[in-house]
């Protein structure tokens, strides 16, 4: 319990958010939407981390979330640069049509 919030609520919300992100990553074909879905999954993990940090009364969990957000920023900048280059070369970011490495 955090105040009047049961930990279970936090974990169920986190699980639901993670499943939504996973659905987006598996079902979408636009590379940018897949990327956004990965951000949603990261946020689900952050929510669970903060829930446990509050229940255990530790600050370490929040530091970890801080680092996750910093790494997400780095990942977003590099990933989007890759998409820009990809679009410049192939005129599409549909992941079904980007199969240079397939066979």
């Amino acid at each position: 319990m955090i105040g009047s919030i049961p930990l279970n609520d936090v974990l169920v919300a986190s699980a639901a958010l993670f499943c939504v992100g996973l659905a987006g990553a598996l079902l979408r074909r636009n590379a940018i939407q897949i990327f956004l879905s990965i951000e949603v999954m990261m946020n689900a993990a952050n929510l669970a981390l903060l829930g446990y940090a509050a229940v255990l009364g530790s600050t370490e969990g929040q530091i970890l979330v801080f680092f996750v957000i910093a790494i997400a920023a780095a990942e977003a900048s590099v990933g989007l640069a890759i998409f820009v280059v990809l679009f410049r070369n192939k005129e599409t970011i549909d992941v079904n049509r980007i199969n240079l490495l397939k066979w």
Partner: protein
Amino acid sequence: MSRVIFDLAALAAVFFAIVMVANRNPVRGVLSLVVAFSALAVCYVLLLAPFVAVIQVIVYAGAILVLFLFVLMLLNLGPEARPGSSRPVQAILGSFAIIAFGVLLLETLRRSGARVPAPSGIAPASIGDPASLARLLFSDYLLHFEAISVLLLAALVGAFRLANRETDR
């Protein structure tokens, strides 16, 4: 009371995430994610993490998603083509995997609910305040903090090198 607000904010976050996933237009997807991440910031405040909530709004909803929006506007993509036309099996298997994963996750949560670690007394309200966070960040986690700053610099240089038109000739 705070439970009601938390549940409402979490529901809003999940709802707008679903809107993002279900929408074919990526610009609408980014805008609904801004709302979802702001709702998550409300959750973070209620979980005794006001500093992380502010970071969430400024860095996630503010900077990262605006970067996505910039790139979407730059590429000027149309809406995604109808799915299933090229690979129906992929969509069916994907939906099946997601449902199986969700059921598994909820079942695990239900079974392990009794084994939540014992809290160390009442969580002090000071765990999330910027002063105690900064004290820990600049003492025990100083090395990690510096590693992150080098990583961000590397990402900056890498993104510049990738997207610079002159260098790929």
